[in-house]
Symmetry: C2
Subunit: 358 residues, 2 copies
């Protein structure tokens, strides 16, 4: 039986996509080879990379003066690539709204004068700082944010208006809601939440920002090299890119980001409404900033939390354990989570509450 998988990442993929990948795993596009076996210089594979770029451009309405790159590894690697590619004046501002935002900030400090200009660490990252009150510094290379915070279940509702280019890690919400790409200098996202199996990251960067990087930049982290080589400077993570294309085709068929955004709001609304109307479950995030991708919640005590996770798992609702930094539970309900998964979770929560009323 297929589980309802609430993992924060790697996470659920659309069933139809997995079935398609399974069908053609031994014979990709009539080549007589697996997509894992063909040369990245093979035309059948470069067509995949081109289609992936075109679909991302279409689904995210990416302006033509932005490059779209598929790069190796995860977003954590881009924590270094961002300063290495952009920190020409040696100065950048970071807003710290969670664990990954903080890691990005710490990595920025390796390469220059990175400053934390706002943080929500004082209240366990349960909100997004008031953007109007942030004193951004003058003459910085960029302002870095993490637009959705996987562990703490928050997201930006609006984005800061900054003089310097705005750089956003969108790993845990890419393609889940409509964003105006033209307001950003760079958007990057590890694939393993909404896009594809782990191993590839997409970078969407305004072309004028893609320049010669700092001298210490490893060649593989140079956006300029990746851009000049159409993401095929060396052997890319072919299988992950191929799967991303299947997921993007699937998303287009569903009606694109506009349609999935509505479905995501609906799914998250069901869950938050249920939690808010319960005196047993609690979500501690400031309502305005609640993520529609990651929903952390707790029962009245840690003992019941552990029991909840155990019994949910036995019922086929898996990977609900919250991150060790916050405890409790977390339901990650990315694009691929069907409405039925959320309603099954709510039904289980009702039953568990009844059986464990305190």
């Amino acid at each position: 039986m297929r589980a309802y998988n609430f993992s924060a990442g790697p996470s659920q993929l659309p069933l139809e996509v997995l079935e398609e990948a399974q069908r053609e795993l031994l014979d990709f596009a009539g080549t007589g080879m697996s997509v894992t076996e063909i040369s990245h210089r093979n035309k059948a594979f470069s067509a995949i990379v081109e289609e992936g770029e075109a679909l991302l451009r279409e689904l995210l309405h990416i302006p033509s003066d932005y490059a779209v790159l598929f790069v190796q590894g995860g977003a954590s690697q881009q924590f270094a690539a961002v300063p290495l590619n952009l920190m020409h004046k040696g100065k950048a501002d970071y807003i710290v709204t969670g664990n990954f935002a903080k890691k990005a900030f710490q990595e920025g400090k390796i390469y220059g004068d990175a400053a934390c200009v706002a943080s929500s660490e004082d209240k366990t990252y349960s909100y997004i700082p008031d953007l109007d009150k942030i004193a951004f510094r003058k003459n910085t290379d960029y302002v870095h944010i993490c637009s959705n915070n996987t562990i703490f279940g928050t997201r930006y509702v609006e984005f800061p208006k900054t003089e310097a280019p705005l750089v956003a890690d969108m790993s845990s919400e890419i393609l889940s809601r409509e964003v105006d790409v033209s307001k950003f200098g760079v958007i990057y996202a590890g694939a393993q939440k909404n896009l594809a199996p782990a191993g590839v990251t997409i970078v969407i960067a305004r072309r004028d920002l893609i320049q010669d990087p700092l001298p210490a930049c490893p060649t593989m982290l140079k956006w300029k090299v990746q851009d000049e080589n159409g993401s095929l400077y060396n052997t890319p993570p072919c299988f992950s890119i191929y799967m991303a294309v299947l997921v993007l085709r699937h998303l287009k068929k569903l009606g694109g980001v506009e349609a999935i955004n509505k479905q995501n709001e609906y799914k998250a609304g069901l869950l938050y409404d249920f939690i808010d109307n319960s005196s047993f479950y609690k979500n501690g995030v400031e309502k305005k900033y609640r993520s529609i991708m990651n929903v952390p919640f707790v029962t009245p005590n840690a003992e019941l939390d552990a029991k909840f996770v155990k019994e949910a798992t036995a019922s086929g609702l898996v990977s609900l354990k919250g991150h060790r930094l916050v405890g409790g539970m977390r339901a990650s309900i990315y694009n691929a989570m069907p409405v039925e998964g959320v309603t099954a979770l709510i039904a289980f929560m009702q039953k568990f509450e009844k059986e464990n009323a305190v």
Copy 2:
């Protein structure tokens, strides 16, 4: 029909491995989830990482004072990671025997005093320099080699005896022949030739060499961080690691590296013998240094080369076109290439020669 795939990488995987991956693509180890969907913190997945390490240790007879890491990306990324992790004195020697060896050398120069102490570029990398005549410098951090040169079809028969730790890129021959790991400081290999789909690289490093890296080192390139976190510092390329484990299990069942080494020598012997006994085909590599993984060859002229590639492809012998740096053809006959693939190629070569005698 399944093609005989002579691609230099990504390249052929064992059919049984692909079939197994296909069978369990929707349900890994009874989890009700695809291996691409489960959290890397899931016990079923960490068991995979542990098994991968254990199998590599067993099959390569890796001494216990060596770390075995699975890292993101390809060997090209390690071209930077090697100096960033090892260049504490700021000085390293490189032997340049091909395209990738040269790229590694160039990357080394970014981070310190990297010197090319021997090269075979004068004869289009058709040999390995005489190791006894190399004047290695004093007091270097390491000596870097590429043990098998994919594009030019050469390999080291013996390895240099160096005062400094020997670092080897073994991407295109890892697990294909017996090597004494204890003679090396570090061995690294991108997976996509003999091990798994592209996206993961293994690093085998003597533990005393794993120290704090240079200050400019991105966190994701720090071997120390990967070692301290059992290759799970961030989300790893899960599918590639899983496939590597299936390939390693398969190799063990076949009798390990000792058995596959014999088969590889046999396969390469068949092809080289045929070429050497022909007046039509030619391999330009100095015999002693011929690779048993990559066999470049030419017909009497470039026009016939093109015709050969075209007709071979139509016969189900694919990806035989040589690298643009050398032209002609190249048959990559990695571990997963069955003997039947090589005999089918030879049969085609005989037929082609007859039809196109000049």
